[in-house]
Symmetry: C2
Subunit: 226 residues, 2 copies
Amino acid sequence: MKILDFLQKEKIPFHDLGLYKEAFTHPSYANESHDYKKDYERLEFMGDAVLQLYVSKFIFKLFPTVPEGTLTTLRSKLVREESLARFSKELHLGELLYLGIGEEKSGGRERESVLANIFESFIGAVYLDCGEEEVLKILEQTIYKHVNDLDYDDITDYKTTLQEFMQADQRKTVTYQLLEASGSSNAPEFTVAAMMDDMRLGIGKGTSKKRAEQQAAKDALNKLAH
Amino acid sequence: MKILDFLQKEKIPFHDLGLYKEAFTHPSYANESHDYKKDYERLEFMGDAVLQLYVSKFIFKLFPTVPEGTLTTLRSKLVREESLARFSKELHLGELLYLGIGEEKSGGRERESVLANIFESFIGAVYLDCGEEEVLKILEQTIYKHVNDLDYDDITDYKTTLQEFMQADQRKTVTYQLLEASGSSNAPEFTVAAMMDDMRLGIGKGTSKKRAEQQAAKDALNKLAH
C-alpha cells in the first residue's frame, strides 16, 4: 500500500492507518465507492486549523515587533493555496490520492486546489494521530523553510523599528510629514519625511502615504546605521 | 496589581507577567502612554489561532460523523464575537483592561468587540506563557461548556447518520426524491422523501431541498428506531 510506504519513508510513527486513508480520499472516490464513504474534508478542516496555529506561532516569534496586520498578511501568504500545493508536490502527496474516475480523467490529481487540500488533510491526520511534535517536523521541512522566500520589504515594519531605535536613547516620538503628493489619482506618488522634532531623519516615496512612511523610516534606519 | 490577583485567583501558573499586561492593554492606552507602547493586537492574533485549533479539535471529536461544512458553521458559532464577549464577562476580564481616556469615556470597557478581543489576547498569552494544558482548562470552563446551548437540529447531520445506519445491514445508498416544490419564490417549501430502492423510509419538509432532505432523514431515523 502506497500510503504505508510513504509513512515509513517519512518516518512518521503512525498508529491509525485509517486516518491517513481518509486524508487521501477525494470526495469523488467516496461518492463512487460502495464500501468507503469517508473523504478528506473533515481532516482538511482540522489541518487548516493546525496550520493556522503553528504558522501564527512561528511568525509571532520570528517577528517580535511587527504589528498584527502584518502578521495576518504574512500568515495568509504562507498558507495560501499556491504555497500548500507546492508543499504537497514536494512530498509527492498526489501519488497517494484516491480519486473518482471522472476526477482522474479531468486531471484532479494535478489540480492545485486538490493538492492544497490534501496537504491540509494530511497535516490534520498527523496532528490527531501523532500530535504536535510530528506536525512541527513536517512544517520545518515545508512552510517554515519557505519563510525566507517572502518579500521582506512587505514584512518588516520599519516604522516600528525606527521608533524603537530612537527610544533606546530618548523618549521621543518619530512623526511623519507629507512633503509632496504628485502623480495622477490612478498612479499617485507620495513623498514623506520621517521627523524627530525639527530634525529630518529620512525621506521615502510610495504609492500610498503608508508605503512612503515605511520607506522614509527605512531610509532613516539606513542613515542612522552609518 | 489587578492582573496578578486575577492570575492567582484563577490558579494560572504564569511566568511572564508582562505578557498579560500586553494582553490587557487596549491600543488607545498604548497610544497615549509614553512608556508603554505594546497593545493586545498581536496576542489577539495569536489567541484567535489558538481558539480555532482547540475548538476545531473539540467539535471534530464530539461529532464524528458530521460533514466539514457543519463543523465550520458550528465553529463559527462558538467563536463569534458575541460568544467570546460573554466568556470575557464571565471571567471579568474587562476589569483588567488598560484603556485610553477617550475610550474609557465612550464605554470601551463594556464594548462587546473589545471584550471579545481581550478574551482572545488572554488566551494567546496563556498559550505562549503556559502552554496547551492551561488553555484547555480555561476552554473547559467557557467555550466547551457552552456547546450544549447550540441548536442541535443545525448540527446533527441526519442524512449521514441514516446512511450509516442503513449500511450496517446492507450496502445500499439512501437517495432523496423531490415530491413537491410549493410556496412562493420568497417562501418556498420543498417536500422530499428518503428512499432505499423503492422503499420510502421517511418524508420531510423544508425551505430548501437540503433542509427537506435532512428532515426526511430525521423522519426515517425516527421510524427505524421504533
